[in-house]
Subunit: 131 residues, 6 copies
């Protein structure tokens, strides 16, 4: 089957254990989620993914909640059920209210609709957008 | 061909003309873009799309720039070249800096990557996300 | 580059030439389009694709125009510019009016929107749909 | 979690209740489905979606069954499990036979295949399609 | 509902029975999987799909395992849960090791990421790629 | 507009210049392609992407050509024109023959087709795949 053995924290060793500890610490004591337990089967992939995501999702020019909203939008369009669930949970923890979620969904729905229309009509990019 | 005749403002009449005027006014005097000139071939579609987008993209629990960032993210994943161009232009006008754009792209790239991994591993949703 | 050498009708031989003749005949004397000239680099792929498409797109429980509308819908969502152009042209030739095209696009836009909403909300399938 | 509280008809009030009644009436006495109970958390989104879908899916230049077939095609390509289930049920109720469904699926499969081939070969749009 | 009645081998007749026998034989005695039992509702679709897949997946310039890896990659990006499961199982049977699977997933993740970046930046194809 | 200023090698400094040199060296003296010149606007993104791609695409349990074939498959399905072009060029340089390319495309087309069918029929995963 396609599913993968999950490496539980009590079985983690070496670099995997260090990353699990860093995940828990960074996430305020949260349990390590299934995606990390899956990636741990390939420590190099776990390492590259975690270290990059930690850097990318840290607040910068965009705050943490905004980054989570963008993450959810991408995950919805890519049809990733796991990612929609996990990042909706994270976004709520970081402060996404129900009003914000409703507006997020309305924008996703609106964009999906106009994306389809622009592709169906093969609309040419306006010259003014190319300046 | 798939492309559609664009209805220029000088040829617009009745409901289409009213909407064109509202678009210009709402967008601070901007010219009417090609997508609206295409949708104008079907006034009911133009009306429904414009009135909903005006409502959805107005600032609410999320500010205008955040909504544009989400719009761009959806358009990138849906592969809509027109929409990526037009909403990148709009987002800049509303205050998206190059730093914000870089972070937006990093989040889109990160999410696309983990979406693929979660789907490839068919990772089960954690019980904690279902509570 | 990714593009492929197009096999022109005057250079076609054997099985490829026979298929080109069948395409022209089936399409009422039309010229052979670029996709067939590309697939001709792999005669087995050309053969399998043409013979299946001829069978699939022939009128049956669904008429030809309806089949073209479905083809366009799939091509829009898959972001295939070539296919949107070519099948819009074919659909028109088979009788798709501008009114039909407008309604097609409105349905595509509507479905894209509710698809995104259902995926974002992870809505459970109603029991009544499972009966 | 990503799922959302469903607003049951007995808890619906004001604008939501009116829309639920209109859904039941328009659908010939059918129960209100989960997607509407989810959207009801955001009455403006429920209102905009229902009123537009009612207009878009009504028979016009295309009949109701044809519109449902297009809806299913879009939902399959977008990977929306909920929408595939619900619109397959609706399409059957409106008269989609098993023969029609088989042909629908054959067209979706055929288009998905040629979409991939055209994108992989980066085939140029024929001049004749641009006329 | 969207699911379809599965035609079990003991109920298969005529052309369907012949194809079931060919599937079992080609797959080294394996049971006929659900996708074939579903397609059997439309014998012409079953026939076209099985005969083409048998031809396409046979070793040629690419070996069988490589073809399965490509199949999995496509299925992950298209979000086909059934196909990811079934082809991961087949690939393992044909010799895909856990190391190969890890590298497959790393390439899928990497490509998904750069696909998003290239689309977001609307990067122009280098002249050198067009030579 | 959505396109981004390309940082030419002669304008590269510091970390960006080091990475450009590493790209040229790793690619056997090749010119730096547009995607890297675009990513160079965000040195941290350039660094993370290049170092990960160098690691991921290096021969391991899978050889370099196989990895490029998988990369192309993902890029086709994600509709990334730039990536299809660039990785088709790279794959050819690494040894992809026209026969291999034809088989790659046939597998992509086949998988796209069965992905659509499995999603349309909502086929249940066989128990044997879950063992």
């Amino acid at each position: 089957m396609a599913t993968v053995k999950l490496i539980e924290p009590e079985d983690a060793k070496g670099r995997v254990k260090e990353i699990y500890d860093d995940i828990s610490k960074t996430r305020g004591g949260d349990k390590v989620n299934n995606i990390w337990k899956a990636l741990a089967n390939d420590p190099a992939l776990l390492d590259a993914t975690w270290n990059r995501i930690k850097q990318v999702m840290a607040p910068g020019a965009l705050d943490s909640v905004t980054k989570e909203l963008i993450y959810i939008a991408v995950s919805v369009v890519n049809g990733c059920e796991y990612c929609v669930h996990s990042h909706t949970a994270v976004a709520r923890k970081k402060g996404m209210t129900e009003e914000m979620r409703s507006e997020l969904l309305s924008v996703i729905a609106m964009a999906s609709q106009t994306n389809a229309l622009a592709n169906a009509y093969q609309i040419e990019v306006d010259d003014s957008f190319k300046e």
